[in-house]
């Protein structure tokens, strides 16, 4: 259900060049009210430059940033109704936890008593002890510091809250916990969150929509489901994790031929005007051994390695044509066949993903 | 006053010894032996110029170290602080040797038979026995004279004529028209003497309370009317030439000669015609070079004293860098022959004899300490 009004934040042909180097190229993007939007891309993809333009620390070379229809390009950072949680958090070391959280309120001229109340409320909301108010920020743990930074940003009451990979430096378990907390806080506050990260996995956990960036441009925008199931190209598909990628050419209305001679495979959906491209099959949809019998597409090869991946096991198969295949099965449903033996791989046509590039 | 216990006195003695040891330890120690070829001189600028020292270094194949001093009391302080172990020769103004340094054991006497005859060739005022070169008993010869000069005040003769200045003496500075038009060169010891003279008080005698009071009044008046205080004679001459001031309090040949030699002959040291010192209104200083009571004194010390009496060296001492001064050796025609007309004009040779006649010798002021308190308070409390 599309709203007739313009979205909350509109990026219209946003471009940023540093000399000859174009860091962000002609980005068009609508971010909706109350949405958790994540920009994902490898380092150097332009996502940091992008968010710095959005908060006002860099000026776009061309294009427009509109918030509620108002062009923000020339508005300095301190005049924008948005704010950001920094990658290094940028907590003020000379101020206490409470003073850090109150900072935007102090700048806004809120009375000390009122802002203290607000800071205490934010401490509670972020599950921090209220007696942390007078604690030094450098005496707090990594997770606590994250929450303080978030509380400070929330105290600003921004129309959009930006996040510049604030969880990147944390260990795995703490990151997982905070990802979920962040999602909870997003739901509780109903604010618009724009998050950038290099981890699609992190994006998947939290986001309503994801934008994938590559070389300064947006490659695909969609829900986590769409991104996962319908990647628009090999880059997006591979960015999701390890996948089987075959270079193919069209061989009929519902068939493609692997160019190295691995065989011809049936597909369900053929993009229009498809002549040549890539066939992508996720390892977890592959069948192995007897399970592959009767599948529409099969390949035979030699199983030469297996890896335990926590909840799953990954098998590596080298086919007769020389290609390497990945198959993943759940840990409690392992493949019973002999290792280093001849095996058959198979998959359904509807599990095939075809992309042109 | 000594009501303290013996223990406490012992403690203090220990402290003193320790302090002296610490002080001595911080100084450069010289090798005990082999002092035949080295000489350390602590002197007013002039004697330490390379023009003077280099020929001596060559002739005696000696390593000569000379350090210039900037005030007599400073120099004597350093000897008191233990530097008698460093220096071989000390050059300060006339009263210090006889009144302080010799009684305190800081200098040693010279062999009279070698050095006394050298006074014969000097200007008549210095003929032996010259009292300032002798100890109080008149038995020991304590040093050799050389540079000297009348030292009273300096005027710009374009603004105040020599005749007026000499007639009025220090009263020039009390004139209401001179307020804010003169500087005080802060050679503090000299100022105290001249402020005595200004007050009509003999500076080198014990003073009555009334005289001290007159001195106090003069002190305040001189400071309150001054435009500039500085201890830099170049800066003072510059102010005089540039018209910031018309005269400065305390000065003489020593301070005026360099400006005069540069062509500013309107800068002139003045010796008042009359005053409270047995009728005299001017004061003259005489530098005396003495051998330090160094336990390892260099044998070159006496050689250097003889060396600087030579005519060419005397001239170099008189016209060293910075200031130009007459020397007592100018009584010798061979020395006089070294000076040209401009040089003689720089040191005001034309009036030197007359100025000397109108001057009393620089001496010790028995009430110096008390007067200094008054003087420094007047300087601090100055209403500028």
């Amino acid at each position: 259900m599309e709203d007739a009004r313009e979205a909350l934040l509109v990026l219209d042909g946003l471009t940023k060049a540093f000399g000859d180097f174009v860091a962000v190229r002609d980005v068009r993007l609508d971010i909706r009210e109350s949405e958790f939007f994540t920009l994902v891309g490898p380092s150097g993809s332009g996502k940091t430059t992008m968010i710095r333009m959005l908060v006002g620390m860099e000026q776009p070379t061309s294009g427009e940033i509109r918030l509620n229809g108002r062009v923000l390009n020339q508005v300095p950072a301190n005049r924008r109704p948005t704010c950001m949680v920094f990658q290094d958090l940028a907590l003020f070391p000379h101020k206490s936890v409470g003073e850090n959280i109150e900072f935007p309120l102090k700048i806004a001229g809120v009375a000390p008593r009122v802002r203290r109340e607000r800071a205490s409320a934010l401490l509670r909301q972020l599950r921090l002890p209220v007696d942390y108010y007078d604690k030094g920020v450098n005496q707090c743990s990594g997770g606590e510091r994250q929450r303080i930074a978030l509380a400070r940003a929330l105290a600003f009451d921004p129309q959009i809250l930006f996040f510049d990979e604030p969880l990147a430096a944390l260990d795995f378990r703490l990151r997982k916990t905070l990802e979920k907390e962040l999602k909870d806080i997003h739901r509780e506050t109903g604010k618009t969150f724009v998050y950038i990260t290099h981890s699609l996995e992190e994006a998947m956990v939290m986001s309503d929509r994801i934008g994938i960036m590559k070389n300064g441009g947006l490659v695909q925008i969609g829900t986590p489901h769409e991104i996962y199931n319908r990647p628009v190209n090999k880059f997006v598909a591979q960015f999701m994790g390890e996948v089987n990628t075959l270079e193919v050419e069209a061989a009929g209305a519902h068939a493609v031929r692997e160019v190295q001679g691995e065989g011809t495979f049936e597909v369900r959906d053929m993009p229009e005007h498809f002549t040549r491209g890539f066939l992508i099959i996720r390892p977890e949809v592959m069948k192995l051994g007897p399970a592959a019998a009767g599948a529409a597409n099969t390949v035979s090869g030699r199983l030469f390695n297996d890896y335990a991946l926590g909840s799953r096991v990954q098998y590596q198969v080298r086919s007769a044509g020389g290609a390497q295949w990945l198959v993943e099965r759940l840990q409690d449903d392992p493949f019973e066949g002999a290792s280093d033996g001849e095996v058959t791989l198979g998959w359904r046509p509807e599990d095939s993903i075809l992309v042109s590039e | 006053m000594y009501r303290n216990s013996l223990n406490r006195r012992n403690f203090l003695q220990q402290t003193g010894l320790w302090a002296a040891a610490a002080a001595a330890g911080g100084l450069p120690t010289l090798a005990n032996a082999a002092r035949e070829k080295e000489l350390n001189i602590y002197c007013w600028e002039g004697y330490n110029s390379d023009d003077v020292l280099d020929p001596f270094r060559r002739e005696f194949d000696a390593k000569v170290r000379a350090e210039g001093l900037t005030s007599d009391p400073d120099a004597v302080n350093r000897l008191r602080a233990g530097e008698t172990a460093v220096w071989d020769l000390i050059n300060v103004n006339n009263p210090w040797a006889r009144e302080m340094m010799y009684p305190e054991g800081l200098i040693r006497p010279l062999p009279r038979e070698r050095f006394e005859p050298m006074f014969e060739n000097m200007m008549p005022a210095f003929h032996p026995p010259y009292p300032w070169a002798m100890d109080k008993s008149g038995e020991e010869l304590l040093g050799m004279t050389q540079r000297f000069g009348p030292f009273n005040f300096v005027v710009n003769t374009d603004k105040i004529s020599k005749a007026t200045a000499e007639d009025e003496g220090f009263n020039v500075f009390l004139d209401s028209g001179m307020q804010g038009k003169y500087g005080v060169l802060t050679y503090d010891n000299w100022n105290i003497y001249h402020m005595c003279v200004t007050a009509g008080v003999h500076p080198f005698k014990a003073h009555t309370p009334e005289e001290i009071e007159a001195f106090t009044v003069a002190c305040k008046q001189i400071f309150n009317g001054a435009k500039i205080l500085t201890d830099d004679l170049v800066q003072m001459n510059l102010a005089l030439i540039n018209g910031e001031i018309d005269a400065y309090f305390t000065g003489g040949t020593y301070t005026a000669s360099s400006a005069r030699y540069d062509g500013a002959t309107q800068v002139r040291g003045i010796t008042p015609k009359s005053g409270p010192m047995d009728g005299k209104g001017g004061i003259v200083w005489i530098e005396l070079t003495s051998v330090v009571n160094n336990p390892e004194v260099s044998p070159l010390a006496e050689e250097f004293l003889a060396y600087i009496q030579r005519p060419d060296i005397s001239k170099l001492v008189a016209f060293a860098e910075g200031t130009y001064n007459p020397v007592s050796q100018m009584g010798d025609p061979a020395v006089m022959g070294q000076f040209d007309a401009d040089e003689l004009d720089a040191i005001q040779w034309d009036s030197l004899e007359e100025e000397m006649a109108n001057s009393a010798d620089y001496d010790i002021n028995p009430d110096y300490a008390e007067m200094y308190e008054i003087y420094s308070a007047a300087k601090r409390e100055r209403e500028a």
Binding site: A90, F92, P93, H94, R152 | A23, D231, N242, E244, R380
Partner: protein
């Protein structure tokens, strides 16, 4: 609770162990000795002299408070006042002058900062008196400034030299590097991201300065301020050369007491009081400003 006695038992032998067998104090011993002799020693001697009878040159006298009494009853408070006033004024002006320059050197000038550093540091190679005398030539009646203005505009500015402002100018000029360089370090210690965060949270340029830059560069400001304040407090040449001793600073009195007055004990008392005053001010400043907190160690 059994851990407590055990811990103290363990601690006991360490405390009793001879200090010269422990590596720390042993290594520090030569330096301590050097500091004691070279730094504490002279101070102790000055302190000892302050209790000696007036105009004595030996420490072997009965101690007395006479000098303290005479200094306090005399008008030395004037010199202390002038020194404090001039040093404070100079430090405030130095801060105002140096902060923008230091900011530029730390953040804006890039490679030109090295040139500025060289230009500021170079005069330090020249004697202070000579540099001050240069200013005399500039400010003198019919001097460089006065003469130029007369020539070009027919305006005369002859009353500049030998005034209190001239002394302040001298102090600011001479002690500029001592304020500037610590400030440069202080300002470059402030992370850019903190300033960006403050701006992002709505702070204006001035609010960023007040809330972030100023407090975080406080270590540099403190060091620069204390350095230049202490130096200015003990300064002498500026009031003599540029001020024409319009006012007498305390260092001037100290010098006179040791030389012309031949009164070492009085000079010592004045020195002791000046050192105590400087120390008191430094201690008070450090007590009120918690550097550890600023640097973020607490």
């Amino acid at each position: 609770m059994s851990g407590r006695p055990a811990a103290s038992e363990r601690a006991a032998p360490t405390g009793v162990r001879r200090w010269w067998r422990r590596p720390g104090p042993l290594c520090a011993f030569p330096v301590s000795l050097f500091l004691l002799a070279g730094f504490a020693g002279p101070l102790v001697i000055v302190l000892a002299y302050s209790f000696m009878p007036p105009r004595t040159f030996s420490l072997r006298q009965a101690p007395t408070l006479e000098n303290f009494a005479s200094v306090i009853s005399d008008s030395y408070y004037l010199s202390f006042f002038w020194s404090l006033f001039l040093a404070t004024t100079a430090v405030l002006i130095l801060f105002l002058v140096c902060y923008p320059i230091a900011y530029g050197m730390a953040k804006l000038f890039g490679r030109w900062a090295n040139l500025v550093t060289a230009l500021v540091a170079l005069p330090l190679l020249i004697s202070e008196n000579i540099r001050l005398f240069g200013w005399v030539l500039v400010l003198l009646k019919n001097g460089i400034l006065d003469g130029t203005l007369q020539q070009l505009f027919g305006v005369s500015v002859s009353g500049l030299l030998y005034t209190v402002p001239a002394i302040v100018l001298g102090l600011v000029y001479v002690y500029l590097p001592f304020m500037l360089f610590p400030l440069v370090i202080g300002i470059s210690m402030v992370p850019e991201s903190l300033k960006e965060a403050a701006a992002d949270l709505g702070a204006s340029r001035f609010e960023i300065f007040r809330e972030v830059e100023l407090p975080l560069s406080m270590p540099g400001i403190m060091i620069g301020g204390i350095l230049s304040f202490i130096l200015a407090l003990g300064s002498l040449a500026e009031s003599k050369i540029l001020g024409g001793q319009t006012v007498i600073m305390i260092a001037d009195d100290i010098e006179s007491a040791f030389t012309f007055a031949q009164n070492w004990p009085k000079g010592s008392v004045l020195s002791v009081l000046l050192i105590a005053l400087s120390g008191l001010i430094v201690v008070m400043l450090f007590r009120n400003i918690d550097l550890d907190r600023i640097i973020g160690r607490r």
